[in-house]
Symmetry: C2
Subunit: 329 residues, 2 copies
Amino acid sequence: MKLASFRDGSRDGQLIVVSRDLRTAHFATDAAPTLQRALDDWNFIAPQLQDLYDALNAGRAARPFEFSPAQCAAPLPRAYQWADGSAYVNHVELVRKARRAEMPETFWTDPLMYQGGSDDFLGPTDDIVCGSEAFGIDFEAEVAVVTGDVPMGATPAEAADGIRLLMLANDVSLRNLIPNELAKGFGFFQSKPATAFSPVAITPDELGPAWRDGMVHLPLVITWNGQVVGRPHAGTDMVFNFPRLISHLCKTRNCRAGSIVGSGTVSNKDAGAGYACIAEKRCLETIATGSASTGFMKFGDTIHIEMLDESGASLFGAIDQAVAIPTSV
Amino acid sequence: MKLASFRDGSRDGQLIVVSRDLRTAHFATDAAPTLQRALDDWNFIAPQLQDLYDALNAGRAARPFEFSPAQCAAPLPRAYQWADGSAYVNHVELVRKARRAEMPETFWTDPLMYQGGSDDFLGPTDDIVCGSEAFGIDFEAEVAVVTGDVPMGATPAEAADGIRLLMLANDVSLRNLIPNELAKGFGFFQSKPATAFSPVAITPDELGPAWRDGMVHLPLVITWNGQVVGRPHAGTDMVFNFPRLISHLCKTRNCRAGSIVGSGTVSNKDAGAGYACIAEKRCLETIATGSASTGFMKFGDTIHIEMLDESGASLFGAIDQAVAIPTSV
């Protein structure tokens, strides 16, 4: 099924069920007021949502309304956890290569993961508000899962059972703030502003055979200022699948319902797949010519991230954002 | 006022108001079911909680019951953000000195902060469950604040207005996992298991004149296996006060209600104050003798963290934990 959070002025929005073709929606308030509440008691609430989803798809739902991504907050407008991996190790290798640094061999066997801020996510069509272009504004197109409760020490197989929903993410990065921040040794902070998510979160069964081996076997489509710049395949070159990432997360602590775990920027070894973040394009330029020629995003730039199924239908709806200056500046 | 979350089997517990002397409590369900809900609408709900608090302290509350920290979850059993600073730069300098590394001068002017996991906090008397003593189990006694909404770009003065509550924290660290993890460049992850918090969160006015300049001017008392090992003063050597830490957090993003911001391990230059984490003791030993003689925590070890006011009364109640092996191991 497909779920979204309707923006009603509240902090968490109102849970809605969205039809498979993303044309209509229906309030799911009778089952759960918010998506977090549904995740808190998934085994009890999910079947009720599924019934409503089936009715909506069959044209039998009581009060359907037209679905609009612009009315949506992120499926979880705020969450208790946002842990982002770097599962497409090709991306990490390119970044290192561009700055002539060796990537440790262990990066192919031990997942990289950072803890992100999760108190204030952006909806799919919200502006990327940024104080300065000089921060080096970049998009990062990713796939993410939402989990149920997964206990400390869970194996990848156990973690796989904890995957409840899938989303797309734009993990916005401020590239020029990263070097100083990582040099301090404590990881990202100011260099990772609010992340945006796709209008709908979907259960894995919506992907049919494209969901297997703990990853999504379909390409993303990334369009920057109206130009398609990347079609990287999310099922290619993903070194650590989602169960593996969740198991990494759980090694020394429990993972609680509503945690979001990201894949990291999707990146294929085949350069013909284009790019899912500008930094990667710049790395390729640097490796080829010694310097980067593509600039980061400017105020007014747009970014569109989507995933289509084999028939060309949008699975998650689109992330469709523009970069904007803060209103108070 | 003093607030806590009564463990009732739900994920967020039930909001209770606790008397100033920590002897009695009263359900605050009429005002807000959970502490997060109170923080979501603080200006409306806080006055109602204050009325109940006044009545409870005056012996006029309708249905008071005996307060017990063992019945408490963390004041926020899960939160949308846990951002931990390293405001006592003395601690950072000692760690570097022990490993013969230079600390950059900018560490005195640019706060260090890491994003911690916030989906699964420990209550004040919960066991520190850890898979192995070999991980290097350490306590870290800290002061933390809970914020309201603070907008992106807030100055320290603006951030000061966003401070709603104060707590104590035990930011448990797995020291032997830190070097490899930090070497990967993405900050802490597995090396930071669940954090524990004091039984009650208190409004700054409870501290009277001990709350000034954006910090708490009182010593912590840290007792490890029944021995007092530290009485570091939280108002001494705090290089970045809480408004400054929150402003750092907000530079490129909004900070939403219910965010928890920590001070980092309290640490005084005066070695006579003892230590708030074992790592610091080991650093001092290493600097003095070339090697560390104090070991990390063992299964069964206990840690007690408390802060007393001038009259000797406990302000937050005590964090009182034991280290335990996972039941499934």
